[in-house]
Amino acid sequence: MELQIRNISKTYSNGRSAGAVQALKNVTLTIPTGMYGLLGPNGAGKSTLMRILATLQEPDAGSIRLGDIDVVNQPDEVRQTLGYLPQEFGVYPKARGEELLDYFAILKGFAERRSRKEVVEALLRKVNLWDVRKQKLGGYSGGMRQRFGVAVALLGNPKLLIVDEPTAGLDPAERVRFLNLLSELGENSVVILSTHIVDDVSELCTRMAIINKGEILHEAEPLKAMEALQGRIWRKIIQKNELAREHTVISTKLLGGRTVVHVYSEETPADFEPVQPDLEDVYFATMAGHVGTRKPDAAV
């Protein structure tokens, strides 16, 4: 099974005459089975793409196919094999965990009572909510609520699982537990993980795409992408007000109170030391326009 996204565009008419915002421009992606990371800054269009894939929005143009299913025109078929964990969601605060999951199981087509109970129980155990299944959802912590969302998304072994910024707001332990859960799924399904946290992608995904301002800038396998940057990323520790104008700075960050600058250079710049490129460097280099399938300037 493969998810093929072809030339998807989506424009929001933003309220009054302030003009339209183009959230997606001609996006084309092919996503195979396995974990796929969609990386991009806030407002890049990730959530719009996720919602279109989850049948909650319709693109202005373009087509999407999941195997034989036309995602845009056959939403009912997609929903039968879809798992969706939105960026933000609420729960009925007065409902109990088990009760609401059972409700969702019915909505997802588990009509037979006994087997549904087994599925619900297994999922609750899997996301480690079995012990609190009788508690009201209003009393769940952020992590528990997120895991509850995962349980809902996992109902029915979805062939397409869409996970929108799932680890934002999770503590490190919860995050690890959560990523473990996801990694299990990549074996048979298309799992799309949208995030702005680079580590999520590097730890989980076999393939990834970087998106900004509605355009796919770079589509690659994380390992290969890092390899491709080998010998091109350099770093230097500088004073705060020092600005390395002559270099193409791709990222600056603070380390123990001092500023660490990463630059992209195909030759060895003076005073810089080489760095083993990580996915973050790939991300920033892509955002700065040094690597990728399309240069951002072309779109302007």
């Binding site: 989850a54 019915i106 087509g109 037979e112 087994e118 899997k126 996992l154």
Partner: protein, 1196 residues
């Protein structure tokens, strides 16, 4: 500073939203139409002014009531938007004070509401000064009237309502909860207040109403004269002032409480039950384990067919049901409301303090059901709750932030819509089931054990639930289509108001008003009737509901696509397969059912609009008015052969009138008017030609070949046929209380027979309509002095009828029952009256229980439903006593029969239809007087018996004061009979019941008795005045005067002037001023015993000293009071201690003393130890009970 910033931001934020403007528009339109159309014809029949303070006030009042339900979201948003949007952490951590935050938000909401309510005044002004207003009925512009209405009513209500809406929203952290706050206020202001009022707790009712509707309507509607209504300015005084002070106090108290309780803190889910159980479960939850990977989810089959969709629908329905049932509103609806209802039914099941038998038909029709589109009692709460919860259900996922997860599941839209609708339907069904339990509970409490469970099920879960489900479908569809929560609530409410007020907007055909149709009826005698038209209309609306459901499914918002054009595109995609199929089926059913109904209402039967009726009446007067008063033959004998076929809903009447020319000139043409709803054939026993045959206006003129000479007679033959012809817009031929030929409980009247001559009663009445059609203006009833004393009464005629019906029924017609026999499987009865009778002839056929006895020359017949025989003996006791006493006092009972017939239909009343015939509705037979207590049956029958003299023998002219001649004298007779037959103590108890302000609160202003028109004067003041006169002048003299009056006016119409002349003749000169005070002027006396002390004298007797105060006031027609000196003889009474069952003990002393105005001391001596005493102890002159009698304080 911060306060103003918060206020400004909130105000500006909300004023940019659509709902303040929409609600202003709604209120403006409402006020416009209410001022122009709706309020006028009902409240002020004559001489009203469109911009009178009364109308301005009433419009403001009802505007407030609608506003209350329209815009609670404004307070809700101001109070809870921060919490709802989870922005509160940012807001609550800002350095602001509670006063600034709450105050600013509250004032912004209040300000918005004040602004919105201005729209009512604007609409009201537009109605007066806008285009199309009739300048004749516009008075001078009085800004004070608008300011008073806005200030005293609108602003005070804005403050009270905003407080409650704000408080509920803030505490629940949900803006929508403000609707619940509004519903509670509405519940208090309408159903609860009305119930208290009906239960006789008037003072409490006036106070309990947070909106002040009752206080205003009670004070202004009933107590102001027409002149006052036009000119008097509304101010806060009396009950209304108390009411406002109380509720503003409650509002301020609530605000302080709010301020005190409010904290800038994080809200956690508070659940008392969770708090209780937390101890047992929290520990397990905190265990940290990373063992997720070890568990594999077992395979389970999934399916996506219709069976699964069905299962999903049930799951959604269950979830929706639980959501509502567990919410505060649901608990209120399903638990608190039924408990209140039980209480209300128990309290209200009485009439005049007499308990009513809780028969199932009574409970179901009177208390446990309400018509959806005619909300006259607490049942209005059901549609309001339906609107509220339809919104909550449609928005449930989105409010919880769960919509994306639900929308991404493989569930078709129709499952979500249908599931929610079923959930709401289950709530309504549960409510109906609980209401059935309420009914049975009431019956058990009252010791009534004939439970008719299947009737409860049929009515509540059949008829009522159907209507509520239809409405729920509409409400859900509106919410789904509008897709803006508050606007959705508003649109649903306005839709409901349109349904309710459709008839005022001129839309009367039930095919055009959703979920409307003829109502079913249910009575013990008739069982269910009018079911067939009910069913056809409901099927028709169910087809519409199906179409609504299709629309809801097509426009159901899923995911993020909420733009309307986008939704239309999606709808086009969704319109296929089963959805399209259902749409086609729906349209087909609407056309077929609608066509069938239209064929019945407009094809088989003539559909006449109100405008048509007005037009026809105008045409009638214009074309035939010239024949008014021309000599016409008089009917002197009626002979009828009636065949009733109950099973076939059919009847035929073959009859003849003997007509005599009683005038002095020959009559060349006879004018005949057959009834509209039957087929009539007419012919004379001599040759005559039809000159005019106006079927539409119902006027026929027959020119006689040979004129009818004075004193000559002719015979009119006619055949009248009642035949079932489908159903009308109003159902079967008439409603439960009206004429119908049914399997059991047939009732038809002589109105179906042809009438002789032009009928002025058929002319247009309303001044407005007459003006519109250019008919000469008819101001009011003529003054009694203006009536031509020579006008003769309609001559009575002898009567004879043979009436046949099914073998198992008894048929009734007026007259002595001469004979009854069986023939060809049918039963026949022959009734006759050789004494000429008048009034309306009535005919019945039902499975009656018959009681017959003789009283002197009279054939006394009683016909009641076999199950309604409990108090037959009480009824007969009253009839016999009345025949004896009235015959002795006012002249012999002239007829040879007296019939008492139970008329099918659930109405309470009893009335006189004609000579010798008294009918009571099935409701009358619910009266269940206990033992020797007050016996309303005796009093009411005595009153109706009185009408056999006052109304049937003495016939009042069509003039002012006519009601005094019939109603006042009939009640006076009943009072005399009670005094005679029982004692003064019984009369005292009877009068205390009469004094209850419901249904007629006392009016101290208005016209004097001689010209009286209002019901209080006719039914209360008149009898009181006659009673006082009989005590002062002497019963024999007064009754003798009345007997003379009957004798003198045997063949002509009487006015109050005639009566007054006879009363003056028997009143000694010393009492003439009192007579004038009672009849010529509006005089009211107030007597107050301030202190009563008693002391034993040396002789062993007791000396009692009273400090009394007295006043006498004369009011003119505009309500201006003038105090005049009392200076007259008034009774002083002293009474022994009351025995059990007595209100007052044995009288020790009752004598008249000369009393002046103001305070004075009176001393009397009595032989025994006194207990109580005072001035005017029997309320002869001071008609308001209370302070006349005091306990006598014994001095040592």
């Amino acid at each position: 500073m911060k306060f103003w910033a918060i206020f400004r931001f909130e105000f500006a934020y909300q004023i940019r939203r659509p709902w303040p403007w929409l609600s202003m528009a709604v209120l403006m339109v409402f006020a416009f139409f209410f001022t122009r159309e709706a309020v006028l014809p009902v409240t002020l029949p004559q001489n009203f002014i469109l911009n009178s303070p009364f109308i301005i006030t009433v419009v403001s009042m009802f505007g407030c009531q609608i506003w209350l339900l329209l815009t609670p979201a404004i307070s809700g948003e101001a109070a809870a938007r921060d919490l709802q949007t989870r922005m509160h952490p940012l807001m609550f951590t800002s350095p602001i004070r509670k006063t600034d935050y709450l105050g600013g938000r509250f004032l912004a909401a209040f300000g918005l509401h004040a602004l919105i309510l201005l729209a009512v005044q604007v609409g009201s002004l537009l109605a007066v000064y806008g285009p199309g207003a009739n300048p004749e009925i516009i008075g001078p512009f009085r800004p004070a009237a608008y300011l008073a209405a806005y200030g005293y009513i609108a602003l005070s209500n804005a403050l009270i309502a905003t407080t409650f809406q704000f408080a509920v929203a803030l505490f629940t952290a949900r803006p929508m909860a403000s609707y619940f706050g509004s519903l509670l206020l509405f519940f208090l202001s309408y159903p609860v207040t009305l119930t208290l009022y009906m239960a006789g707790l008037h003072g409490r009712a006036l106070l309990a109403d947070p909106i002040g509707v009752m206080a205003i309507m009670n004070e202004m509607m009933s107590n102001w004269t027409i002149v006052e209504k036009n000119v008097r300015l509304f101010t806060l005084e009396g009950a209304m002032l108390l009411n406002r002070l109380l509720w503003l106090g409650i509002a301020l108290g609530t605000l302080s409480f709010l301020y005190w309780r409010f904290r800038f803190t994080h809200r956690t889910v508070t659940d008392p039950w969770a708090w209780l159980t937390r101890r047992f479960s929290t520990k397990a939850a905190s265990s940290v384990a990373t063992r997720s990977a070890a568990i594999s989810v077992p395979y389970a089959p999934r399916s996506f067919g219709y069976a699964t969709h069905l299962r999903q629908t049930i799951a959604v329905a269950q979830s929706s049901f639980r959501m509502i049932a567990a919410s505060p509103g649901g608990l209120f609806l399903l638990i608190v409301f039924p408990m209140l209802l039980t209480f209300v039914v128990l309290v209200e099941s009485q009439h005049w303090g007499i308990p009513l038998l809780p028969r199932t038909s009574y409970l179901l029709t009177k208390h446990l059901t309400g018509v959806l589109t005619s909300p006259t009692n607490y049942w209005i709460m059901v549609p309001l709750f339906t609107i509220y919860y339809a919104g909550e259900l449609v928005w449930q996922e989105r409010d919880a932030g769960l919509s994306e997860k639900v929308d991404a599941t493989p569930v078709p839209e129709w499952v979500l819509f249908l599931g929610k609708l079923i959930g709401l339907g289950l709530i309504l069904a549960a409510l109906m089931a609980i209401v059935a339990v309420v009914g049975i509970t009431v019956q058990v409490i009252k010791g009534y054990h004939q439970f008719e469970i299947e009737r409860y099920v049929q009515v509540l879960l059949g008829f009522k639930l159907t209507d509520y489900l239809l409405f729920a479908t509409l409400a859900m569809t509106v919410q789904a289509v509008v897709n803006q929560k508050y606007v959705g609530q508003m649109v649903a409410l306005v839709t409901y108001l349109l349904m309710v007020f459709s008839s005022y907007l001129g839309i009367k055909h039930h095919l055009l008003v959703y979920a409307s149709g003829p109502e079913w009826s249910f009575s013990d005698m008739r069982g269910f009737s009018s079911i067939e038209p009910w069913l056809w209309f409901r099927l028709y609306w169910a087809a519409w509901a199906l179409l609504l459901a299709v629309v809801a499914r097509l426009l159901w918002v899923r995911g993020r696509e909420s733009g309307f054009s986008r939704r239309l595109q999606i709808a086009r995609l969704r319109f296929r397969g089963a959805t399209a199929g259902f749409a086609v089926i729906g349209v087909g059913l609407v056309l077929i059912l609608g066509g069938y109904i239209f064929y019945n209402t407009n094809g088989l039967n003539e559909y006449v609009t109100d405008d048509d009726v007005v037009q026809r009446r105008a045409d009638y007067e214009r074309l035939y008015g010239k024949y008014e008063g021309i000599p016409q033959p008089t009917r002197v004998a009626t002979t009828l052969q009636i065949e009733i076929y109950p099973d076939q809903n059919r009847a035929t009447i073959r009859g003849r009138y003997r007509l005599v020319n009683r005038s002095a000139v020959p009559i060349g043409a006879v004018h005949l008017e057959p009834a509209f709803y039957v087929r009539t054939r007419m012919s004379f026993d001599r040759s005559a030609n039809v000159v005019v045959a106006d079927d539409k206006l119902g006027h026929f003129i027959y020119a006689l070949d040979k004129p009818l000479q004075p004193g000559d007679s002719l015979t009119l033959h006619f055949d009248v046929e009642f035949e079932p012809r489908g159903f009308r817009n109003s159902g079967l031929r008439t409603n439960a209380a009206g004429q119908a030929i049914l399997e059991n409980g047939t009732y038809i009247t002589g109105d179906a027979l042809p009438i002789i001559g032009y009928q002025p009663m058929r002319e247009l009445w309303s001044a407005d309509d007459r003006r519109k059609y250019g008919l000469p203006r008819q101001i009011t009833l003529p003054d009694p002095g203006d009536v031509d004393p020579s006008v003769t009464a309609n001559a009575p005629a002898t009567f004879e009828a043979t009436i046949g019906t099914d073998a198992d029924q008894v048929a009734v017609a007026p007259g002595v029952l001469r004979r009854s026999w069986r023939e060809a499987g049918r039963r026949y009865f022959h009734y006759a009256s050789v004494t000429p009778i008048n009034g309306r002839d009535v005919f019945f056929s039902a499975n009656y229980a018959v009681h017959r006895e003789r009283w002197k020359h009279v054939d006394l017949q009683v016909y009641v439903h076999p199950g309604h025989r409990e108090h037959l003996e009480r009824l007969l006791r009253s009839v016999r006593a009345a025949l004896n006493y009235y015959s002795a006092q006012f002249g012999t009972y002239p007829f040879r029969f007296l019939q008492l017939v139970e008329q099918p239909g659930n109405f309470m009343g009893m009335g006189v239809d004609g000579s010798g015939v008294i009918t009571g509705g099935e409701g009358f037979f619910l009266l269940d007087p206990q033992d020797n207590g007050f016996d309303a049956i005796f009093e009411i029958v005595a009153h109706e018996m009185g009408h056999q003299w006052w109304g049937m023998q003495l016939k009042p002219a069509f003039a002012e004061g006519g009601g005094v001649l019939s109603e006042s004298l009939a009640w006076y007779s009943a009072m005399q009979l009670v005094k005679k037959e029982k004692d003064r103590e019984a009369l005292r108890r009877f009068m205390s019941i009469m004094r209850e302000p419901d249904p007629w609160p006392p009016m101290r202003t208005g016209l004097p008795l001689l010209r009286a028109m209002d019901p209080w004067a006719n039914y209360r003041k008149g009898p009181y005045a006659m009673n006082a006169l009989s005590e002062y002048v002497g019963e024999d003299c007064v009754n003798g005067a009345l007997r003379t009056l009957i004798a003198k006016k045997a063949s002509s119409l009487a006015t109050t002037i005639d009566m007054y002349r006879e009363l003056q003749a028997v009143t000694p000169d010393s009492l003439k001023p009192l007579l004038a005070d009672l009849f010529e002027r509006n005089t009211s006396w107030t007597f107050d015993t301030r202190q009563a002390t008693g002391k034993q004298t040396a002789a062993g007797t007791w000396q009692v000293t009273f400090q009394v105060e007295s006043h006498k006031v004369v009011a003119d027609s505009a309500g201006v009071d003038t105090e005049v000196p009392v200076n007259q003889w008034v009774e002083i009474g002293v009474f022994a201690p009351a025995q059990s069952g007595e209100m007052l003990g044995k009288p020790l002393y009752v004598q008249k003393h000369f009393i002046r105005s103001g305070r004075q001391t009176i001393t009397v001596t009595v032989p025994q130890k006194p207990a109580r005493g005072g001035i005017d102890p029997y309320n002869l002159l001071d008609w308001e009970e209370g302070d006349n009698i005091e306990e006598v304080t014994i001095e040592k």
